[in-house]
Every structure is written in structure tokens, then in C-alpha cells.
């Protein structure tokens, strides 16, 4: 959030033109903490709300700030379709591997085998590899960082503001209460240390290798994975056709 706020200040875009849209969840509350135009919508619907805002007023710089559960589970359909259309909005997805606000339930990114209150014996499901999903869906920019990569994260958020089309950054965030405790990571700090030990910056690595498995010593890859220039979405105008 700090990175987003700093990026807004550094963006050179008037603060009045920045709009943040969020869904429901811990990170959904971000909209209420920022002194810019902010819309805290229903669970899963931040992206289509943002699409409406952006298309009705293309002057706005629209950022969606929400969690993995909100964006990739209940809002998963909107996520892939907005990326497919390549609507010119930026999405910051805070991934804490669980539903934190409601007390740590299984989410779409919960690693296989990880314990949550609704997977007490370990998750029987395979999680989303979000960068892979977004790349396949057609997003123009896809990156992943953690909360320890402050500098890179801010740089990429800033880049996303000016990047035409759909851009997406996954931010791995610690959730000591909801996720850490159940998985023998005692403190938020420990989860941060885990990121520090295991994260490998690997720009441009094959995206199918970006899955996260906390049970093994497998590295967690972070970096910029996709940066391309597919045509962004534009509403149809007759004068463009004739």
C-alpha cells in the first residue's frame, strides 16, 4: 500500500485523476485508507466496476487493489476477461495464500498441503499460478514481488500506470494470524524472512515454473514476467471503422 501511495505521488499524474477500486477482504479496505477517489465494492466485483469507471472516463488512472480471494476466486471470471480484453487498468493483487479477513480459510492460492481453517488436514487442491493465469489470459504486463521488494514493487506500480492495457502485479504478503500460525510460521517477520531466503529474482523465467510450494525448498520466483504490447481495449467508434 505504501508502494502504491508512493507511486501515486511519483507518477506525475494529478492525484485527482487517480482512482482506486477494491473488493472485499483485508486488502479491500485499502480504498478507504487512501485520500483519493476510492470505491470499495462488493466481493469479487472490483475489476468490472473499475472497467466501467475507466471506459466512462478514460482520463482516469484506475487501479484495482484487492486480494487473491477477491480477485482470483469469486472474481476470477472478471480477472481473466478483463485481461483478455486488455482493458487499460492496473491490478495490484495482494496474495496472502488464504482468506485472512474471515479468519484464515482456504483460498484459490493456498499451496497444496497448507493448513487453513477449512483445510485442517492440509489443502487437497492445487493453487493458481497467478502470473501464468494472467499471461495466458492476455494481460500486457505481469509481475510478482513480495513485501520485502519495496523498491521493485514501487517501480513496477509506477510503470503500470503508464503501461497501456491490462497490467497485473501479484504481491506476496504475510498473514501471520490467518495463514502463518496454521503453517508453523509464527510471526509476520518469519514469513518475511522466508520470502527473503527463498525468493529468486528471475525476470522472464518460463511462466509455468512460477507455482509456489511452501512445503519444499523450491525457490519462489519473483520479477517481471510479461511486458508486451497487445492492443488495449477501445470502445467501438464508427469514425475508427470508416
Amino acid at each position: 500500500m505504501r508502494c502504491y501511495a508512493q507511486a501515486i505521488l511519483d507518477s506525475g499524474i494529478p492525484q485527482d485523476n487517480h482512482v482506486v477500486v477494491s473488493g472485499i477482504g483485508c486488502s479491500g479496505r485499502v480504498a478507504g485508507y487512501m485520500k483519493i477517489d476510492s470505491y470499495h465494492t462488493t466481493h469479487g466485483r472490483a475489476i468490472p466496476f473499475a472497467v466501467g469507471l475507466k471506459l466512462a472516463n478514460p482520463e482516469l488512472t484506475v487501479t484495482v487493489f484487492s486480494g487473491d480471494g477477491d480477485l482470483a476466486a469469486i472474481g476470477g471470471n472478471h480477472l481473466i476477461h478483463a485481461a483478455r480484453r486488455n482493458v487499460d487498468i492496473s491490478v495490484i493483487c495482494a496474495n496472502n495464500f488464504n482468506y485472512g479477513m474471515t479468519g484464515g480459510q482456504l483460498g484459490p492460492t493456498t499451496p497444496f498441503g497448507a493448513r487453513t481453517t477449512t483445510s485442517p488436514y492440509g489443502s487437497p487442491e492445487l493453487p493458481f499460478n497467478l502470473p501464468y493465469l494472467l499471461a495466458a489470459s492476455g494481460a500486457n504486463f505481469v509481475a510478482r514481488w513480495t513485501t520485502i521488494h519495496v523498491r521493485q514493487l514501487k517501480r513496477d506500480i509506477l510503470y503500470m500506470f503508464s503501461k497501456p492495457g491490462f497490467s497485473f502485479v501479484e504481491v506476496l504478503v504475510p498473514c501471520p494470524v490467518g495463514f502463518g500460525k496454521m503453517n508453523f510460521i509464527d510471526e509476520g517477520l518469519d514469513e518475511m524472512l522466508l520470502y527473503k531466503e527463498r525468493c529468486v529474482i528471475a525476470d522472464g523465467i518460463p511462466i509455468d515454473e512460477l507455482g509456489i510450494d511452501l512445503r519444499t525448498d523450491q525457490p519462489i520466483y519473483v520479477g517481471r514476467f510479461i511486458d508486451r504490447d497487445l492492443a488495449p481495449y477501445r470502445p467501438v467508434r464508427l469514425e475508427d471503422i470508416e
Binding site: 492525484q15 485527482d16 485523476n17 482512482v19 477500486v21 480504498a31 478507504g32 485520500k35 483519493i36 477517489d37 476510492s38 470505491y39 470499495h40 465494492t41 462488493t42 469479487g44 466485483r45 472490483a46 475489476i47 468490472p48 466496476f49 473499475a50 472497467v51 466501467g52 469507471l53 475507466k54 471506459l55 466512462a56 472516463n57 482520463e59 482516469l60 471470471n77 472478471h78 476477461h81 470502445p235 467501438v236 467508434r237 464508427l238 471503422i241
Partner: protein, 390 residues
């Protein structure tokens, strides 16, 4: 067509087409929707027309996304609309509640088909009139209109935008398949004769002191600031205070929800619309709406020919309900008949207000009710001495 793209003159239009043209005439320039029979022609026409006039047409991935996109566009200041039918209407319900809570004006057209579930996609129904009132969770108020002709699909679409803007509420235009698909003459006035009600807007010279959810006027409607105007507003579906920020107290919650409900109650006389005929000496009144009202009017005329003192009341607005008119009628009318294409929804509401059993002429939907059935009910009520029957 005028320079702004609004059609004028006489046309032979399908109801759905007339609705699309009404939206354009009302200044609607954003449509986010998902195709669903029998409302699809609205989307199709706007997909064709908006690129000509600078509107935004986007076909969303589902109805939840459609409704959210409409609200986003509304937050950015656009007059925005979607159109759907039963299954999609159900999916929109959560964000219709968000529209109520954020007080974002918008229009949702529901061309009703046979329900529940997938029901009868290509055939008519009127069984979502109670869902229109209570379908989203919680206590709230909104307005719903019921057109009975392609002409009214045009007129009431414009009116829906006006009422939405005036009171900052979602408007549900509850059409049905008969009205949506039938083709009839539609007269479109000159653009300068089309009334547009303006939204209440904040004072741009006093941006810092602006409280986006403070309703200072007696009508309980706060001014609406758009994204990007520099007011730095916060909108949330959570219970919020006058500044718009979440406040999880019972007091704030009660104050907010009460205002949202009272906003409609206070202004209901201005929102309610009915049409009546043959009321002067009526001892029986037939209440109906939408396409069924066409058959009801025919039946009433035929019954008058037979000398039965029967009147005709059409609900142009379904919600808010015309409480005062119905109560007043109940003072000098003996019996009420309600004709509708469902198994008794508005009949309950009429009954609640006239405080006596009403005669329902009901059908689950799938075909427009023929005048004969209503005429039979009128005769039966007349024969039993204007008392009620069940």
C-alpha cells in the same frame, strides 16, 4: 436523426428497440450487459447505435460484471444502463444493493420471461415484481416501472433515467416479453422536447468541506460527486457515515438505512404513476400492469358494454406502491380484481392496502393472458353482488 444521435419522428418499433432509443434520448452513453432472451435486442441495438454517437457498449462476461460495470460508469458520471431477464436479474441483485448503498443512479431493464429458473426463455412472465422490490438483501427502497407498449418502453426508459438521477437510486424497468418483442408505432418527440432531470451536484467551490453522503435537503438526496472531479470521495458498500467512511456502529447503520428507505417514502408521491379509466361510478376495479393491462382494459371495456360498473387501474410504477390511491379507492369501491402473469404477487400488495380479500386472475406465464379470462372474473364478481370471491 439529430446531430446528437437522438432519433425523432414516428417509427414502427419493437419494444426492445424503443427502449434502446429511449436510453439514447435520455443521454445514456454506457451499456454493460450480457445477452439474454428476451432482452437481447436492446443490447444488439445499442451495440449498433452507440458507436455512431460516442457511447460505450461493452458485452461483459456475466451479469454480475455487467451490473458492476454499470455502477463504475455511473460513479464516473455516465448515465448507464443494463438489460437482462430473470436469470440475469437474479445475478445482478447483489450489486443492485450496492447501487442503493452507494446511491449510484442507474437503470436495469428486466424483460421478464417465464420463471423460475431457466423457465420459458422466449415467452412472457411477470413473476419478478416482488423480486424487484425485495430481491437484494436488506431494507432498502428503489423504484420500478412497468411499460405496457413499445411507446412506453421508450417513454419510461427516459423517465427511469430521470428518476434514477433525481433520487440517486437504481431503477428497475420491469418489462415483459410481450412488450419487449411486440412491434407498434413509437412517436419520438423532438430532442428539445425531451425532459431530462438533472442530478444534484456538489458545490465545486467548497470541495474540502464536501460530505458525499450528507443529505441536507428535505428530499434526503445528497449531491453526487464523480470520480476524477477532485472531491476525493470514498464510496463503500459497508455502512458508512456522512463522509462516506465505514462506521460499524448500530447508530450509524440505523441512520443510513432509514434515510435510504425514507428517501423513497418521502418522495413517493412524485415517483408513483398510475393510469385509470371508468372510475366515476365503479364498484369493481381491475388492477393490472404491463402487457396484462392491455387485456384488462379490453375486458373492462367489454364489461362496461354489459352494464357492469367496473373501473380500470393500471400500475405504471410498481414500486413504490400507490398506497394512497389504492386506500382511497378502497373507501368507495366494493371489490378489487388483480390480473397479472404470475400466481399472485401484486395481488398480495393490493390486498394488504384494501384490507379485504381481492380476486386474483392469475397465470404462471408463458402466454399473454387473454381478455376473456379477466372478463369472466369481472362477471363473476358482479354476479356475486360485488362481494369478494376467492
Amino acid at each position: 436523426m439529430t446531430s446528437s444521435g437522438v432519433l425523432t419522428g414516428k417509427h414502427f418499433f419493437q419494444g426492445d428497440e424503443a427502449c434502446a432509443e429511449g436510453a439514447i434520448a435520455a443521454g445514456c452513453r454506457f451499456f454493460g450487459g450480457y445477452p439474454i432472451t428476451p432482452s437481447t435486442e436492446i443490447a444488439e441495438r445499442l451495440a449498433h447505435r452507440f458507436p455512431e454517437i460516442g457511447g460505450v457498449f461493452i458485452q461483459m462476461e456475466d451479469e454480475m460484471g455487467s451490473m458492476a460495470a454499470v455502477l463504475g460508469a455511473s460513479a464516473a458520471g455516465a448515465r448507464a444502463m443494463t438489460a437482462t431477464s430473470g436469470p440475469g436479474f437474479s445475478l445482478m441483485m447483489e450489486n443492485i444493493g450496492l447501487a442503493v448503498m452507494m446511491e449510484l443512479p442507474c437503470v436495469v431493464v428486466n424483460v421478464q420471461r417465464g420463471s423460475p429458473s431457466t423457465g420459458l426463455p422466449t415467452l412472457p412472465g411477470q413473476s419478478e415484481v416482488m423480486q424487484a422490490r425485495w430481491g437484494s438483501h436488506g431494507d432498502y427502497g428503489l423504484a420500478a416501472f412497468s411499460p405496457w407498449s413499445p411507446q412506453e418502453m421508450f417513454d419510461l426508459t427516459i423517465h427511469s433515467f430521470n428518476v434514477a438521477d433525481r433520487y440517486r437510486i437504481p431503477i428497475l424497468l420491469m418489462a415483459d416479453e410481450v412488450v419487449g418483442h411486440m412491434v407498434e408505432r413509437v412517436v419520438i418527440p423532438r430532442e428539445d422536447q425531451i425532459t431530462r432531470w438533472e442530478r444534484k451536484r456538489p458545490d465545486p467551490n467548497n470541495k474540502d468541506a464536501f460530505e458525499p453522503f450528507l443529505a441536507e435537503d428535505p428530499d434526503l438526496v445528497p449531491p453526487l460527486a464523480y470520480a476524477g472531479e477532485g472531491y476525493r470521495v470514498h464510496f463503500t458498500g459497508l455502512t458508512h457515515d456522512e463522509l462516506g467512511y465505514p462506521d460499524m456502529s448500530a447508530e450509524t447503520h440505523h441512520r443510513l438505512v432509514t434515510r435510504l428507505v425514507e428517501k423513497i417514502n418521502y418522495n413517493s408521491e412524485k415517483i408513483v404513476q398510475t393510469e385509470d379509466h371508468f372510475m366515476d361510478d365503479a364498484r369493481i376495479v381491475v388492477v393490472s400492469y404491463g402487457s396484462t393491462a392491455r387485456s384488462a382494459r379490453r375486458a373492462v371495456k367489454d364489461a362496461r358494454q354489459e352494464g357492469i360498473p367496473v373501473g380500470f387501474l393500471r400500475l405504471v410504477s410498481l414500486w413504490p406502491f400507490p398506497t394512497n390511491q389504492i386506500r382511497e379507492l378502497a373507501d368507495h369501491v366494493d371489490s378489487f380484481i388483480v390480473a397479472e402473469m404470475n400466481l399472485g404477487q401484486m395481488a398480495l400488495e393490493v390486498e394488504r392496502h384494501v384490507r379485504r380479500p381481492v380476486t386474483g386472475v392469475h397465470h404462471a406465464g408463458g402466454a399473454m393472458m387473454a381478455p376473456d379470462r379477466i372478463l369472466d372474473a369481472i362477471r363473476e364478481v358482479a354476479n356475486t353482488g360485488y362481494t369478494h370471491l376467492r
